[in-house]
């Protein structure tokens, strides 16, 4: 529960970054963590991505003057960091193919214990699995729009693309998800293909032809 409005959080940081940064982390932790978890598909990776996002943010904010701080569009700015960090981990992983199938198919999401309510439902579990099958250029806009709730303008700023493109990619991503949901095959049958290192070549299904 945020104690402060967005403007008050920025005010606090402009006034004293060290004192105000805790409120900033608290008010954006759900958005950043949800993005990190739904992009990476692993809690271990999400923990690291989310923490690293705020650490990078803090270091960047130290160079901001008060005026720039007060004008900050916090959510798209933070999520740009998260998305870029995640893309970097993907790239690193693809350069070391022997490790590719480990993080994304680990059992972190299925471990028992006090999981978030969302994961209790079998449907949510399925959807989490499908999201992981979306290619990067569809997964990011769908997560930002529908899991986190960013506006199309905010998504466009994260993806550095026109608003229309952001909208189209969200729509295509959602279509793709629906197609995956109605496709007969399961992740288990495709598990052996090294999909992450070469996602587009190894998936013969047509893309974006609609």
């Amino acid at each position: 529960m945020a104690l402060h409005s967005e403007a008050a959080v920025l005010d606090g940081m402009a006034d004293d970054l060290d004192a105000g940064f805790g409120a900033f982390v608290r008010s954006h932790s759900t958005a950043v963590y949800s993005t990190a978890l739904r992009l990476s598909g692993s809690r271990t990776e999400a923990d690291e991505l989310a923490q690293e996002t705020f650490i990078r943010a803090y270091k960047a904010l130290r160079r901001f003057d008060a005026e720039r701080m007060l004008l900050l569009e916090s959510r798209p700015w933070l999520l740009t960091i998260t998305v870029n960090l995640w893309r970097n981990t993907l790239r690193r992983a693809s350069r070391r193919p022997q490790q590719t199938d480990a993080p994304h198919l680990d059992v972190a999401d299925r471990r028992p214990g006090p999981e978030a309510a969302a994961e209790d439902s079998a449907d949510s579990q399925l959807l989490v699995g499908l999201l992981r099958e979306l290619p990067e250029h569809h997964r990011v806009p769908v997560v930002l729009r529908h899991v986190v709730g960013l506006s199309y303008a905010e998504i466009a700023s994260v993806l550095e693309c026109p608003v229309g493109t952001a909208k189209a990619n969200v729509a295509r991503g959602l279509d793709r998800l629906r197609a995956l949901a109605s496709a007969g095959d399961t992740p288990a049958t495709r598990k052996s293909t090294p999909r992450k290192s070469a996602p587009r070549k190894s998936t013969p299904r047509k893309r974006e032809s609609s």
Binding site: A50, D123, S182
Partner: protein, 274 residues
């Protein structure tokens, strides 16, 4: 087989905005602390100023509860001075809060602050036990240090109870002003004896009566109609008519005279009485 059921499941799966929205998850517990720790920062507490019978109070609080209370007058009414003091005491910076934590205003009005949440994380288990017990003393009543010591199961630690109360980070709310000397005298107070007297008077404690009884060596008051004895400030003791009021210097004398201890103010431990 397994693939069959899984694919049927998939076919019935709703892929829409609502389903995706349910994939939002909060960061794990302790996430903020982990981030702040790795940056070498301390999460800030929030500061509000509230009115009370003790004058304006500076109140510091965080997600765990209220962490510090001090009369504004001690810092010339300057929040900056209090913030510096707070940082020294807790290591945490203090930033302006927008509104007081839930229930604080009502608690100050009623004198019942038992339902507020407190951040007593910087204290020892013994200190926490003392303060938690003290919180049970009702507004308008007082209990001796020895009562607190006995109730927390450390009957010999009377002096330590006094020290723990002296370090109460949230005075006025956790009412250490309601703990008095075992001989019935008002005793010391971290914020000064005049403040202790003012707080008790504001709650309706008849200080003159308590001191008159203490001076006469009276520690317990009984009713010869009910056969019950109390500490003098107990709400039940105050209802005894003068004609029926009986005075005792010791609990043994009261018990010896066939009186039983009040269950509200528990002047002696229940097991001692039976």
């Amino acid at each position: 087989m397994i693939a069959d059921t899984a694919s049927t499941r998939r076919l019935s799966l709703a892929v829409d905005a609502a389903a995706l929205r349910r994939l939002r998850v909060d960061a794990p517990d302790g996430f903020v602390d982990t981030v702040m720790d790795s940056l070498g920062l301390h999460d800030a507490d929030h500061l509000v100023t509230v009115h009370s019978p003790a004058g304006d109070l500076f109140v510091a609080f965080n997600d765990d509860g209220i962490s510090a209370v001090m009369p504004a007058a001690l810092f010339d009414g300057d929040p900056g001075q209090f913030a510096a003091h707070h940082r020294q005491e807790t290591g945490r910076p203090l930033v302006a809060g927008i509104r007081p934590p839930a229930g604080l205003t009502a608690a100050l009005r009623s004198g019942r602050a038992t339902n507020l949440r407190y951040d007593l994380s910087g204290l020892t288990p013994f200190e926490r036990a003392v303060l938690t017990k003290t919180l049970e003393i009702p507004s308008g009543e007082v209990r001796p240090y020895g009562w607190v010591a006995r109730e927390i199961g450390r009957p010999k630690a009377v002096r330590a109870v006094g020290s723990a109360l002296g370090r109460n980070p949230v005075p006025v709310l956790i009412p250490c002003h309601r703990v008095v000397r075992s001989d019935g005298q008002i005793g010391n107070y971290g914020l000064g004896v005049p403040m202790k007297r003012a707080l008790l008077s504001a709650e309706g404690v008849d200080l003159e009566r308590l001191e008159r009884l203490a001076d006469a060596g009276v520690r317990y008051v009984g009713s010869d109609t009910t056969g019950v004895f109390c500490v003098p400030s107990c709400v039940h003791a105050r209802q005894i008519r003068a004609a029926h009021e009986v005075h005792f210097r010791t609990d043994a004398a009261a018990l010896g005279a066939g009186y039983r201890p009040c269950t509200h103010c528990t002047p002696v431990a229940v097991r001692d009485a039976s």
